[in-house]
Symmetry: C2
Amino acid sequence: MAKRNAFYAQSGGVTSVINASACGVIETCRANKDKIGTLYAGRNGIIGALHENLIDTSKETASAVASLKHTPGGAFGSCRYKMQNIDDNPAEYERLVEVFKAHNIGYFFYNGGGDSADTCLKVAQIAERMNYPIQAIHIPKTIDNDLPFTDCSPGFGSVAKYVAVSTKEASLDIASMAASSTKIFILEVMGRHAGWIAASGGLAAEQAGDPPHIIVFPEIPFVREEFIAKVDATVKEKGYCVVVASEGAKYADGALISGSLHKDAFGHQQLGGVAQTLASMVKHSLGHKYHYALSDYLQRSARHIASKTDVEQAYAVGRAAVEKALEGKHTIMVTIERGTGKKYSWSLGEASLAKVANVEKKMPRSFITKDGFGITDKAREYFQPLIVGEDYPPFKNGIPQYAKLKNILIDKKLKNGFEG
Amino acid sequence: MAKRNAFYAQSGGVTSVINASACGVIETCRANKDKIGTLYAGRNGIIGALHENLIDTSKETASAVASLKHTPGGAFGSCRYKMQNIDDNPAEYERLVEVFKAHNIGYFFYNGGGDSADTCLKVAQIAERMNYPIQAIHIPKTIDNDLPFTDCSPGFGSVAKYVAVSTKEASLDIASMAASSTKIFILEVMGRHAGWIAASGGLAAEQAGDPPHIIVFPEIPFVREEFIAKVDATVKEKGYCVVVASEGAKYADGALISGSLHKDAFGHQQLGGVAQTLASMVKHSLGHKYHYALSDYLQRSARHIASKTDVEQAYAVGRAAVEKALEGKHTIMVTIERGTGKKYSWSLGEASLAKVANVEKKMPRSFITKDGFGITDKAREYFQPLIVGEDYPPFKNGIPQYAKLKNILIDKKLKNGFEG
């Protein structure tokens, strides 16, 4: 059989290690030149495939490709693009197959989270329906850590490390100021639906009683009185209080804490943020001076403090996707499996895409302490190994040196464009 | 002459390297045991001296002291405590001298910014007036970089590095999302009166046109229309726009941008932050999706990404303070002097405290581009060397290992307490 080409795309919110997965895909394709033709990358994710904007990765030097392993962001561009329901708009999927046909693409590597797994599955299904053979393999990526069938999701470990390290550092700052100044510090972190990221802030505590003193989870209905009482007790005992709060934290009725207080001058409801709102509550109830930080994109792009474990796993799932394709596998997601020994170990596995798609892995309630404000030993056991190891990028003049790709688009072959 | 004891205290907002200065002071005192007795540290800064809460630093192991060099925050506690005017309340200063007398303290090392330099000067003056010989030496520290007579202030270089690195990383993130999602990213940084920190974000750009595309300085009166026009032009040209904004940015009439739009549910004016306010303006005027980050304490406590140059300078000014005291010097601030060669070099000098106190070093207008939104080559030349070099702390289980001091207080000798 003639060699067939491959397609790779990055999807959804990027991470500090999604390019490590890209690096794994590219290097493994290159190592198998006898079996795989050209690897094309979608410019801005799946949008690139729809519009036939295909980047020829063979134009990149080996060292540029290697530097992807330490470069945050999405080197080929990612996208937030929700493919329509296949039955409502099969044309969109048919267009993908049309583009793949035109470029003899036999491998579809899709690097993303839950929604992307669903897209990946549908690509496999429509290609089969259209009698176009393509091996669709999903490469897991999400800081939200909510993909099922995998012990963790590449991207999460590095955010967890960033949040734990930042919490620890800011805690030392506020501890030194509290006697005469700021007594409350709140760090707002990502996680709209689950508290995986907020929970990782708990790793900053090496001993019982260490900060953070309070974690505000989306899983636990927020009760203002209980929160204020805990802050008050903590300040009375420790002299200060450090809080890690998830952006998705909400009241029992489902109303988000964030944005619940603020309107801007134009009368728009402001997503004022959980940290700001909680700080405001504390000031109003207890009068303490506060500071809060909103790490936003910094947490998911902080490649300089990435977890080495996470980087290695991100690279490995990219490599495994290609290897599994070469073994003839398809319509799967590569997974990370945790060893059962006492010492942390991991290996790679796979899960059927049909089972993965549209399933969100929730954080177990057993990871959260009874009072709802902390993490349990069981959680610590799970999280701890994921942040282990540092993997610093190279620096020059004080600044990290990140990959600069050429990103050369190939000529289009299709006469008709795509009108999405 | 009998050996006299020494006193060291940390003052004002802490930094990721103020403990490196403490390390320099302690190690140099220990190296001169024949000349200097015990080094006491004030618990929570000058408040510790007023209340006779003196930490015996001789109880700390050599390795604990050495680990201060890589530990953020203020290991002995800092304070925001404004000493009253000496003529309004000489009793406060007299109390200090009384405590120093009781503990035979002949060296007063004070580690802080502009206000602290003033305190340090007044301690020297009142001691002289009271015929109590004490050598008062100020050790510079401020992330604001606004101390005069020194080329830079220890603490600043590390914040500058954090801001430059974070800006670079977040820029890669937004660049990959912009085609279909977020187009504006704003990073809010500290600096109430001067744009030194905001300017350092400009170091993220290695080539002309690289992000950040806009820096909002406190020095340049903010004109909303010009800002929006620049954002609009940048998005049209680059597809996205990265902004670094100083918390102290203001309109021509002096009104801060931050807090100008928000009231919380209790009707309190909210310090909503510059980033939030600017983002809101952009959304209103141009409709772009935005993200913003507020690094707050993270920027000044991020020891994991400290500048090696800054760490070395912070240690050196601590050491020099002790050495200069042993040379008989007093009523000075240790300064950092930049060599005149093309290659960056620095040495230590000193400035008279009388000249330093109450003088704020402004950022030169020549550091800001004509349009008011960027930094000039001259600025880049000044800033660049200050962020050079990495000096990672040791890690264990994925978390930096920071100093844990015993901080043992000595018995009080004075019968009367202090009522401040």
